[in-house]
Amino acid sequence: MKIILLIQLIWAVFSYFLPLRFTYYLQILVSFVNLVISWFLIDNVIQNSQIFELNNLFFLDALNGVLLLVITGLSFLTSIYSIGYMKKEIEHGLPEKKVHEFYFWMNAFIFAMLLVSLSNNFGILWIAIEGTTLATALLISFYRNREAVEAGWKYIILCSVGIALALFGIIILYFSVSGKLGYELDALNWTEIVNIAGSINPFLLKLAFIFVLVGFGTKMGLAPLHFWLPDAHSQAPTPISALMSGVLLNCAFYSIIRVEAILNKAGVGDFGAQLLVIFGIFTVFVASLFIIKQIDYKRLLAYSTMEHMGIIAFAFGINTKLAIFAGIFHLLNHAFVKGLMFFSVGSVLTNFHTKNFFEIKGLFKTLPITAGLMLLGVLAITGTPPFNIFASEFLVFMSAFKEGYIWQAIILIALLILIFGGFVYHFSQMLMGKPNKERKPESPWMIIPMLILIVICVVLTFYIPEKINILFKNIDQIVR
């Protein structure tokens, strides 16, 4: 685990100075090495269930194992995609200096997310999450136009305040365990806190959870704390949008789940679970309203991310073995499908330079491969079979019905149908019709990651690899 962090940190610095032609390909190599290392780490976790490093500051179990896999997997694919994206941007007049900046901040961002997923200590976890805010702030205002600067400002202010509140929650948590564990660094370690969960004052624990939920919930895009999210996702360069919505929001949610796990072990888990259910449904509701009336395709995808975060929160709120399995499965699925969607609209954006649905027509003629993949992506993300999102949403609703969340599940299904309609309507505007531009060449660097993703999406519906299945199943004991 030290190695993976070290590689990423050193590479972040180097990526700023190396000539671009090296950076492009070394980026792929580094992220591939990280992916391989994380696979070995996960192998180790399956045998030993928990592994520790560096005075127990870092640890890995099934829950953050899945997160680690999502981070390294998606950043590997993004590294491939970025080559195609940045080459197009340079053709269109982006100075090379900016591309260096892009790579530096992207790697810093990935480093911060790896730190989130590997740290055992709530203090370090908080620092890492704030680190992701700082690393992405300048990426969001990357294009320096009015909208981008505005989105960057909203992002840094709203998320900093949110995360400051989460810090307050962590301080309360620290205070509540300090009687037992003392004022040591170890007292903030998740593994230590879980061991004494039964003896923590439940009132303080609930208070801490509220602050953590509001704080990291801001970062995760739970309504009504989501105002930065559509702006940030629509203004950031597309590879970053993919990483943010596929991975960053999951990192924030992961932090909430760690605290919820403590509540569960202390016997007051229902309190947190109820809040997650309410916030989850409300988030899907808000997202569905904005999806229907959206004209900007990147914003639409941002709202769709909110929708899926809401579903994941709902699943964890149901808090049964099946629901948690479904929730974590949905998290994985959503990360990959959203990566695919952002990649496909990214190549539309680099060719058309508009984000408005109605100004683009006939994509099947102008960008045939991208358009085909985009159509599959739309079907996947709205939960049509045979794609993986269908499988996990099905499991979520099955567990909801089993646990008696009947009307909540019905509301959610209705909202999902609405969202399906919105998606199909908007994207068909873009895909069909008479083309208003001639056919354009499609970069293989952008096509290959999309192909990999669509294959993963279909395969995961029918077959979950044995190792990942074991991870999924072990998460239940960790969370509950």
């Binding site: 200590n121 203090g123 370090i124 908080w126 620092i127 704030e130 680190g131 805010t133 700082l134 702030a137 300048l138 205002s141 320096r144 136009n145 009015r146 909208e147 600067v149 505005e150 989105a151 960057g152 400002w153 909203k154 840094i156 202010i157 900093s160 305040v161 400051a164 810090l167 307050f168 301080i171 309360i172 620290y174 205070f175 300090s178 009687g179 004022y183 040591e184 660094l185 007292a187 903030l188 004052n201 009132f203 559509p230 702006d231 629509s234 203004q235 904005f290 009336k293």
Partner: protein, 216 residues
């Protein structure tokens, strides 16, 4: 005066200077107020350090002094000079009403924490409501003011409140964590500064209500 009374007195000063932020309409003055407020935070932390004898807390106090009393105000002064906007002309809520609301917020935070029974060893009990009041005031400043710089000051005030709570209800966070938090806050303020400069160059102003091109 017992030592916990000293701590309570000093943190009351932090609160007073947080309230002073509300009635300042000059950006220079606001930054100075923030510096003084952070200075009292430093005093509070060092008193707790004397009381508890934790060596870490001395370093925390020193870092607070360097970063929050010297560096951040210095950077903000430079920023104000560079963008050339010195006054907050029309806040969303005028100063009289703001003060009234602030009073309500302070009362509210004392009322809120009245029922909370903090068991175990607490250095100074009254600091808890004070720090919650500071946190609320920080949020209120961010909501009620238009200028981007005042919004940063609101955030920094909020952060001071959290710091105060962190050092008074617990005996400070572990040292590595403190360092990380300082680093993050410092870099955050720096980046927000850069961002303000970008806003200034693309909007010719730093009124955040002019940031309205992204709407549904």
């Amino acid at each position: 005066m017992s030592i916990s009374e000293v701590i309570e007195l000093v943190s009351a000063f932090v609160l007073i200077f947080a309230i002073m932020q509300i009635f300042s309409d000059r950006l220079y003055f606001s930054v100075k107020t923030y510096a003084v407020q952070s200075f009292f935070l430093t005093l509070s932390i060092s008193t707790i350090a004397v009381y508890s004898g934790f060596a870490d807390l001395y370093i925390t106090a020193l870092l607070t002094f360097i970063i929050k009393v010297v560096l951040i105000p210095f950077l903000l002064f430079k920023l104000i000079d560079k963008i050339g906007i010195k006054r907050e002309i029309e806040p969303f809520i005028n100063i009289n009403y703001s003060l009234l609301i602030t009073g309500v917020l302070v009362l509210f935070s004392f009322f809120l924490t009245q029922k909370v029974h903090i068991s175990g060893e607490v250095v100074a009990r009254e600091v808890f409501p004070i720090s919650i009041a500071i946190i609320l005031i920080g949020i209120f400043i961010m909501i009620s003011r238009k200028k981007a710089i005042t919004q940063i000051l609101g955030f920094l005030t909020l952060e001071n409140g959290i710091m105060l709570a962190g050092t008074s209800i617990t005996k400070g966070m572990p040292f590595i964590v403190e360092i990380g938090i300082f680093f993050d806050v410092f870099v955050g303020a720096l980046m927000a500064g850069i961002m303000i400069y970008q806003i200034r160059t693309s909007f010719q102003d730093i009124d955040t209500d002019k940031l309205s091109s992204l709407k549904e």
